[in-house]
């Protein structure tokens, strides 16, 4: 691991921090991704419009990456469709039950020193690592 390989993560993290922090300075609100998706899905009053715009930006950014930095996006997800479906269901259900995901609890929550978010982040990191451990080293491919 050298400084070259850390450039992307550090710069990317700065941009993620700038996007969430910038939104906070503009509106006093926090922009978590799962919350934005859910807000649009249920048509949250007064919030759905900006959440939709934010998600549209996430998608536009993805289109930009596909055009100019295609290696940043997966050509395919290396899991079976059944696993991908199960994964999506758990991510959707879990993030709403927990009230946040990697951005909402992980960045904005820890970033305001919320004990609830710190525990949430440690919990999902732990079960994610346990899942990868079981998939790779126990059930083993």
């Amino acid at each position: 691991m050298d400084i070259e390989t850390l450039k992307g993560p550090l710069l990317g993290g700065l941009m993620i921090g700038a996007a969430t922090g910038g939104w906070f300075l503009l509106t006093g609100k926090t922009a978590g991704c799962s919350g934005a998706i859910y807000g649009v899905m249920v048509g949250e009053r007064g919030e759905a419009a900006w959440k939709f715009a934010f998600l549209f930006g996430l998608l536009l950014g993805g289109v930009g990456l596909a055009l100019y930095m295609p290696s940043a996006l997966p050509e395919s997800i290396h899991s079976s469709y059944v696993l991908i479906a199960a994964s999506g269901l758990l991510v959707g259900l879990g993030t709403r039950m927990a009230g946040g995901c990697t951005s909402g609890h992980g960045v904005c929550g820890i970033g305001r020193l919320s004990r609830r978010s710190i525990v949430a982040t440690c919990t999902f990191m732990a079960t994610a690592a346990a899942t990868v451990f079981i998939a790779r080293h126990v059930a083993g491919a």
């Binding site: 850390l6 930095m69 996006l73 199960a86 999506g88 758990l90 259900l93 960045v107 525990v119």
Partner: protein
């Protein structure tokens, strides 16, 4: 104004995800694989994103946010079954495919069957939560 700002910040967020490696499931799974060839690079995403957010949280220039509204003053420190169980389920899902909600939208920029199935099922999972939550609210109106 608010809509344009949200759109632009969404683009910045997505480019940040792309530069950092968060939009590559194999990189995410490599970061979560502590017992294998652990790739710690993604730890540095949080190390730089969190302080930037923390600074804006503390900074709060002016009596109210730049585009209006009010500064929030409540930070939740309480813990309950919802946040613990929800986070545990989310982590299992994240570990299965290496995709979390933000990157799920961004990877649709290069449409693949896998990404589409993931997002459709994620929406179904959120909808399932909505149904569960409505039932809970009916049984326990407090």
């Amino acid at each position: 104004m608010k809509i344009i700002a949200a759109l632009l910040l969404g683009v910045v967020f997505a480019l940040g995800l792309g530069l950092s490696g968060m939009t590559r499931p194999e990189v995410v799974l490599g970061f979560l694989d502590f017992a294998g060839a652990w790739n710690p690079a993604l730890m540095f995403v949080m190390c730089s994103a969190i302080p930037v957010f923390l600074i804006s949280w503390k900074l709060r220039p002016g009596p109210r946010p730049l585009l209006g509204g009010a500064w929030p003053d409540v930070v939740r420190h309480d813990l309950d079954r919802q946040v613990l169980l929800g986070s545990a389920l989310f982590g299992i899902g994240w570990g299965l495919a290496g995709v979390c909600p933000g990157p799920a939208i961004t990877i649709l920029g290069r449409p693949t069957a896998g990404a589409a199935i993931f997002v459709a099922c994620m929406l179904a999972g959120m909808f399932a939560y909505r149904l569960l939550d409505a039932r809970r609210a009916m049984q326990d109106p407090a």
